[in-house]
Assembly symmetry: C2
Homo-oligomer: 352 residues x 2
Amino acid sequence: MAVSGARTLSEGALRGFARAIFEASGVPRDEAEIVTEVLVRANLSGHDSHGVIRIPQYCGSIRAGVYVPGAALDVVHSTPTTRIYDAHWGLGQVAMTRALDESMRLARDVRLFSFGIRQCNHIGRLGHYAEVAAANGFVSIVTVNSTGMGAAVAPYGGREGRLGTNPFCMAFPTGRDPILVDMTSSIVAEGKIRVKRNRGEKLPDGWILDRQGNPSNDPADFYGPPRGAILPFGGEVAHKGFALSILVELLSGTLTGAGNVGEREGQIGNGVFCLLMDVEAFRPLGDFESAATRLAEYVRSCPPAEGFQRVIMPGEPEAETRRRRSASGIEIDATTWSQLADEAARYGCETP
Amino acid sequence: MAVSGARTLSEGALRGFARAIFEASGVPRDEAEIVTEVLVRANLSGHDSHGVIRIPQYCGSIRAGVYVPGAALDVVHSTPTTRIYDAHWGLGQVAMTRALDESMRLARDVRLFSFGIRQCNHIGRLGHYAEVAAANGFVSIVTVNSTGMGAAVAPYGGREGRLGTNPFCMAFPTGRDPILVDMTSSIVAEGKIRVKRNRGEKLPDGWILDRQGNPSNDPADFYGPPRGAILPFGGEVAHKGFALSILVELLSGTLTGAGNVGEREGQIGNGVFCLLMDVEAFRPLGDFESAATRLAEYVRSCPPAEGFQRVIMPGEPEAETRRRRSASGIEIDATTWSQLADEAARYGCETP
């Protein structure tokens, strides 16, 4: 049921609306199509934090000149199995989509292919790209770090931010919905702490430390000043979440040369790492998909633990939400809708 | 201080002793050298669970005919960037070392290379191979699943075992000690529950579920019958540890064709997956190593949280223990020493 001010739009109507705003803001048509596709598919997949809620932020960055529509995507280093791109601060979704498309073509010959992107803006939901790769018969790894900004996540055993939320993503083809692993290495994204603060709620145990390094349930202890830190995930064994964060930082920022946290404050962006492995280089794709499907069925056959209805495979919630929202529409909350309507009004776009 | 019956041996003495036992048990000299190297280096690195404690188990398996010294390592599928090996149930460390050496040579040309191993026995400490790859200028991923055996780890939201402890390992060169991520996707290895049971101790919260799917602190609830299950790591967000376990299972068992948990009960082994990425294909190795070292320094500069002395980078404990034990020797506990002495006596080997 729609809250007052909220709107439910069909996938098609939301696409048309988003594309019109981007085009009116100066984004070339082909780029507007790409960024719209990635954002709307995030909403379809249930990840509203990476969906059209980003449009006002992106349009503001275009007006400020820090997002550069139409920027070139240059290859600055290459071998037969690797490429490093420079996105020149174009739209992140556009750079990533083009780099991925080109790399999948190159990977057809060499079977394993990896690329990095430097000077790249926010690429959105990592799972999007891994799902595209899976649909083309590739097992992929996609990671990003946060370049040019202060770090909010503490290392294990530390009390100050030294790392970003550093997400790690992989997807595997199954012939139907991919198996998708898409997770931050922190216990929680900063946005969720902001929501709790705005609602005047306490935080669950294990989310943050205050400036002195003591566990806290008060969102104010994170925002400070002085600022606290978000914890890596893992609870008792959070050295594992920390280790995952380090490997994401090394792949995304160090191996690619995009730059690491702590190096310099500058334009905020994503250092991007991607690896593609053509399943056919290991075994016939159909055999892999059958075996992956059998594994998923075996895991799902596990009876539920106390408090659970059933075992859910990684990627299942995204696929189920896509089917539901494709059929019955995407609800846009009142705040987001009001911001989108403001952007539309600014550019004289019609609201659906 | 040595406990009664425990022994402290120099690295060299332990190597000689281990090699002699393997050779006496019918392992060819070159294979005995390899398996000894991997086991003793595990002890040196502080991972005694993967060290010479395994000798009686391996020798017993050789006598039982399920470990096959001298077995061929065949290539059963290959492309210019991938290989699938069949180890014919030879010693796992031997198969893995030879496959890695050959693959590093091939990877010099193609820059990205991946291999899998089928019908492979226990390969020991994954970090060993990732460290070797790092010393040769490669970023690597090494994962194994457990083929042919019942699974002890529950999926997130489930109450019965459906997965192995499924470790995930990566290492990165720094010019000195590598940065090493080497972790199981379960909260704990089964062996640690066994130790608690033998000591009559309770388990910490979050380790196991009983057969009904309720959290338990009693080791007996894991062993049953009926048997309980170990939890994936992550606590509140254990769906992340579960997701890591799934990707390890898909890489190690499904992509390689080595076989997955739940498929059949048979000879217990490791399905092995390894990916090698030549750093030079992305940027000059020296630049990468400098940037990785700066990142490590920045992360370590974080002041410690309550209850910690300092921030420790992944791989640091292993490197520090290696330096300490190389200098002052490796202590072998009384039970292990007695078992090793029994093996030596069986084959007429001298004990050091």
